[in-house]
Symmetry: C2
Subunit: 310 residues, 2 copies
């Protein structure tokens, strides 16, 4: 049983974030730094300085880390796709050396998301939940029977690689027609440009949302396509996992007004089993704090969210 | 802890089967009867006579039942699709009345299949497995972290309703493009007939396999289509669940020589993540006994396969 606040860490390709989180899941203080490009040693030294800054000399009862995949789990040897400076970097072991005697637990950031939303957010009170993150990539995490599902290698929940268009676009994973290949932010923008979108501002998913809300048809069609792909993938996962709620987070979930209608339309067309047809799909509740709260949950609520060693 | 043999029951639309199964999962004796058509009372009286016959007056330590879905679980109130005489039939309660004091446990037959193959068959030794049954319908069951996954309502594992052709054929569930709509036996035969198949014998999936092996192109194309659909669905479930093995059973798995090549080709094209790209897919090992062995496992290995009451 862990008592007292813990240190939570979120390692991403653009940002390193850290917080002290109390036993109720409240962020007491937090800080972040841009992730240094390319140089792995600089990433580590920046991370160490960030943690010292957030801790401010106060003791903590443990350390929880969410990190982009892939990784060897539970060893916590990470090779984040968007952080090329770290390949097979033993992040968990390095942090364990800095915090001797404390539990140090590391999992995929999408697992941190589902843990946070299940513990303190939009999936609270449900025993069977999926959280999806739609951003530069598309990831996810599962809770079944009240427990995070790790799978054989800690990679369960990779719903970004559910196939939604068998003959669809190539995916960064090497496959084809994956949800991620269709619905990741950069893919939306690229598809809209191909269709003739003339951006009024940035040629990004955020700019696309602005133009879609102004009635641009190409921009609207791009969100229809992404929402529909999400609906298809959710229908398939719902049949497989018999869920009670799906939570959607990540940058693109800020365009929920544009994503939700096509998502709902497609999901209801395909999910017709008695146990899938009324499945609620809701936006994430915790915003950008979710990854830190979930990282903390690996330590504070290890009974539900941590099945590794230590 | 259950000691001594148990009574295992498999309730299907065409056949009622029962067996006495020992603690090692061996079938000591078994019997079956055709399922009476339409008349629910006759189904019950036939089942009771079958059980008396198999028991032959010997005591058992519990009763395990696999039954076609849908059902209310764990209540065991069943409405098997292919058994129209039973709608909201309280099968578990009725059997509990006949076997007072004993554990009586009922689950979906596809859950019985995965339990059997995990306990005694092709998924033995793996903690994360999917079993698929391809027959008149397409169903499945999941084991994760060594435990059967029930989901919110006991219906997890319905991989027959993973969407493999978003604009594909209507499915019996009311949805569209489900694996079951493409790969169930009758759908294969119907599709081949539409393509111009001229059956040399029966116009069934079994007849189709005979003709495919003789070089009939329409028949071969039908198996290619079904195998490819299975490969797509497995790729999606593998990304979601991070599996170690997939076991394929049911009548159509008897045509493994025809299904496996297109299944493998499609799976390897789409499943390219480090944790999915080498996932083995193998035929079931236990044959038709699997459903009885799995029903017994609900009682004999309740630690892994039963999370309901009683």
């Amino acid at each position: 049983m862990t008592t007292g606040p813990v240190l939570a860490v979120d390692v991403g390709g653009t940002k390193l974030a850290a917080a002290v989180v109390d036993q109720a899941g409240q962020v007491l203080r937090s800080s972040s730094r841009p992730t240094p490009a390319a140089d792995g040693a600089a990433v580590w030294s920046t991370l160490v300085a960030l943690l010292d800054d957030v801790l401010a000399g106060e003791p903590v009862a443990g350390v929880g880390i969410g990190c982009g995949g892939p990784m060897a789990w539970p060893a916590g040897v990470v090779s984040p796709l968007n952080l090329p400076g770290w390949r097979d970097f033993p992040l968990r072991a390095r942090l364990a050396e800095r915090f001797p005697g404390l539990p140090v637990r590391l999992h995929n950031d999408a697992i941190a998301l589902v843990a946070a939303e299940h513990w303190r957010g939009a999936a609270r009170g449900y025993d069977n939940a999926l959280a999806i993150i739609v951003a530069t990539g598309v990831g996810g995490g599962l809770v079944q029977a009240g427990q995070v599902v790790d799978g054989a290698t800690g990679n369960a929940g990779h719903v970004g690689h559910v196939v939604v268009e068998p003959a669809g676009p190539d995916c960064g994973c090497g496959g084809r027609g994956c949800l991620e290949a269709v619905a990741r932010g950069p893919a939306l923008a690229a598809w809209a440009l191909e269709q003739g979108w003339q951006p009024s501002g940035d040629a990004t998913a955020a700019g696309l949302a602005v133009d879609a809300r102004s009635g641009d048809q190409c921009a609207g069609a791009a969100f229809d396509r992404a929402g529909s792909a999400l609906g298809l993938a959710i229908a398939s996962v719902a049949a497989t996992c018999d869920l009670e709620v799906v939570v959607v987070g990540g940058g693109l979930s800020g365009s929920w007004d544009l994503l939700a209608p096509p998502l709902e339309r497609t999901l209801r067309r395909h999910a017709r089993l008695p146990f899938t047809r009324t499945l609620p799909v809701v936006p994430a509740a915790l915003g950008s704090a979710a990854f830190l709260v979930g990282a903390a949950a690996l330590v504070l609520r290890g009974d539900a969210y941590w099945h590794g060693d230590g």
